[in-house]
Amino acid sequence: MTKVVGIDLGTTNSLVAYVKDGVPVVIRDRGGDALLPSVVSVAEDQTVYVGREAERRLLTDPGRTVYSVKRFMGKGVHDVGDEARLFPFRLAGDPGGIVKIGLGSREFTAPEISAFILRELKHRAESFFAEQGEVDADVDRAVITVPAYFNDAQRTATRDAGRIAGLDVLRIINEPTAASLAYGLDKRHAGLIAVYDFGGGTFDISILRVEDGVFQVLSTNGDTHLGGDDIDLLLMKQVLADQDVRLKPDTTYEGRASEVVSGFSRTGGEIQAIRQAVIQAKLDLSDADETEIRVGSYRKRITRAEFDALIRPIVDRTLEPCRQALADAELEASQIDEVVLVGGSTRIPLVRRLVGELFGRTPHSELNPDEVVALGAAVQADILMTGNREMLLLDVTPLSLGIETMGGVMSKIILRNSTIPATGSEMFTTFVDNQTAVDIHVLQGERELVADNRSLARFKLRGIPGMPAGMPRVQVQFQIDANGILSVTARELRTDVEQTIEVKPSYGLTDDEHAEADFDARLLIEARNEAETVIRATEKSLRSPEFPGIAKSELGAGERERIDAALAGLKTVLNGPDREAIKTGTHALNESTQHLAEVMMNRSVHAALSGKSIDQL
């Protein structure tokens, strides 16, 4: 039988593991190395290098070598910030489309680059199994891990990478949860666990309850763009600025943006040399109190205290998600029984100290923080293949899912931290008479407004028979599977018209929290909606067949003019940003039409009482 493996597809390093006689083991290469650097280089003759060799080529052929590709998984061109300047490779892609990575004359998507890494791990595992004398050493199935805070697009991109590499992706699981599974193996006691996972490019915090072998995630939070890379960037910028002071800055250089940082021009290879030097210094400072950054003839001493002060803002950014996760789990930090550290960046003493302070206890780190995620992935792969019921992972969806409703507001259908698989549904209706199609816009995120959340997909439910506005009953049903990936069904219940879509990534914005600004924007939209309702009702009255008669017999002098003026006034402010003006205008229009409304109401009541239709009056 072919083999199944667990893969940790990391920002900096990737690993593969499998379960042997019930115990997960990391598979090493022939040189005994467990870590495969997540670096891919495509040479001019199209030879593809992955790992250590590709890492070396960062210095010799930087324009054809890519690292930290995980940062671009599921990302749109608009998502890439100014850090692109420091990458030696070219970022491309159509506006509004997905990011492409240009290596020489060819362009690759992030899943394609990741697939090279996965294929390398697959080969590593296959040669390992062949050496072990296995009859069938093929590896064609894997569990792959992702940061818990990855959104739907990033998860889908990871699954795609697996497929491109020729792997049947059994399951996408979250890195901190995988780590807890590896930790939970030998110590079977129950309790509340916080997994703090600070890696090369991403940060996750997950709070779990472990009981009866069930690993239940209570809440998760994080930042998919915060990791050791950011610390490296900070140090690099310091070195570059420092060099510019010492050397004469070249302000006339007008080369490629990626080669110009601060005022001084450097080649991609020079920047990579600085990057490797600062990474070495960072690693040194995990043990030493002082070290030296060495690039060519450049030397700079840096103490642990200086380093700590420099990176403190980055480490502080991990603490707020921890507090949010605790709040979402309705727990106090003091209730947490154990804190587990995962990811290379947790080797930094400052990180350990601040996490220890936050939770009021010394964090655990008995297992190698680089390997623990891959080990957990292997355990999960084993559970899936054998149906072994000793352990069970119950994970959650990290971000709320919903759809766009009137006025550009997101209506949430499944809330964040819901245990998956999960379903949710909501009923919607049409807005105008005889509307035959409804646009469904699927969103992910915590913000109030559509524009501030990530757009996952758009589709149209067609074929609704003509009915008055408000009559159709459109049910939108969400299903999140055990991979955390969403599918959406829309159905008109009166006619049973149905449409299902697999959510394919479309690209939106990042998902920071800005509740206050959201609230104001929401109020503005609500004011507009109300104004539009009053305008429509007024115009409808003015158009009605009975209006001329009423105008003649019942309206006072100048009343019609006052209504027209109020109507025109409200329309001019309607699409402006001034909520108060809209509210005032709506109020004025309401006032001016009050008498007219009363007259019309009396007439219809009278008509109803006398059994005649209004037209007959």
């Binding site: 009981e211 239940q216 245990t419 999960a422 055990a482 609230f519």
Partner: protein, 214 residues
């Protein structure tokens, strides 16, 4: 209690559309639940249905496992939360709070007195905003807000107590529908009003908190 597996062949069954969360979890339709018992049942059923254990099963079984797991998770999430639990029960018993709010002539009405208070408070909030924009000292409008908050908080406390009391009365009813028909609907209708009013009260308090945070 729902039947999750075929009694003859022990295959996982596709979910029926007639069940409810209480029956699915095998617990009575009561409002005071034993939290530990709920957790324990949730874990036990998760171990029976989870898609992890049906990876190599037939497509029908895999689908049934996904459906049952999703339903279980939805049920657990709803019943775990005391307010969601009341709202769910009201829906089951045909006293949906949401529906009544939307219906033009629902049986449930928010008392006119409460509505008056809503309007009065909104006016007060407007005044506070005016005061603030006209540059009044924070102590002035803050004091105003604090004064407005106290009676609403008292109301909230009273409501919590009422909810607890009604829940206890509901739980004390027998399962025999016929005998207590009148009392049943009286309690349910009171519960619905309570939930509706609760939303208003919470919104009022949120409005005040938001102004105070300015």
């Amino acid at each position: 209690m729902d039947v999750h597996f075929c009694p003859q062949c022990s295959q996982i069954l596709t979910i029926s559309r007639h069940g409810d969360y209480f029956a699915f979890l095998g617990i009575p339709r009561k409002l005071n639940l034993d939290a530990a018992d709920l957790e324990q049942r949730f874990r036990a059923l998760s171990r029976q249905f989870h898609p992890d254990y049906f990876y190599n099963a037939t497509p029908i079984e895999r689908r049934a496992s996904l459906e049952r797991s999703s339903y279980l998770n939805d049920a657990y999430r709803t019943l775990k939360n005391p307010v969601a639990r009341v709202e769910y029960l009201l829906g089951l018993e045909g006293f949906s709070a949401r529906g009544a709010e939307e219906a033009t002539e629902g049986a449930a009405k928010v008392p006119a007195k409460l509505l008056e208070e809503v309007f009065a408070l909104n006016e007060e909030l407007d005044e506070v905003r005016d005061l603030r924009t006209s540059g009044a000292a924070p102590e002035v409008w803050r004091a105003k807000l604090e004064r407005a908050r106290a009676p609403i908080e008292a109301k909230q406390t009273a409501h919590e107590a009422e909810l607890t009391e009604l829940s206890a009365r509901w739980d004390a009813l027998g399962t025999d529908v016929g005998a207590d028909g009148c009392e049943r609907s009286a309690i349910l209708s009171a519960l619905r009003d309570c939930v509706l009013e609760r939303n208003y009260i919470n919104n009022l308090l949120e409005g005040i908190e938001r102004e105070l945070a300015q």
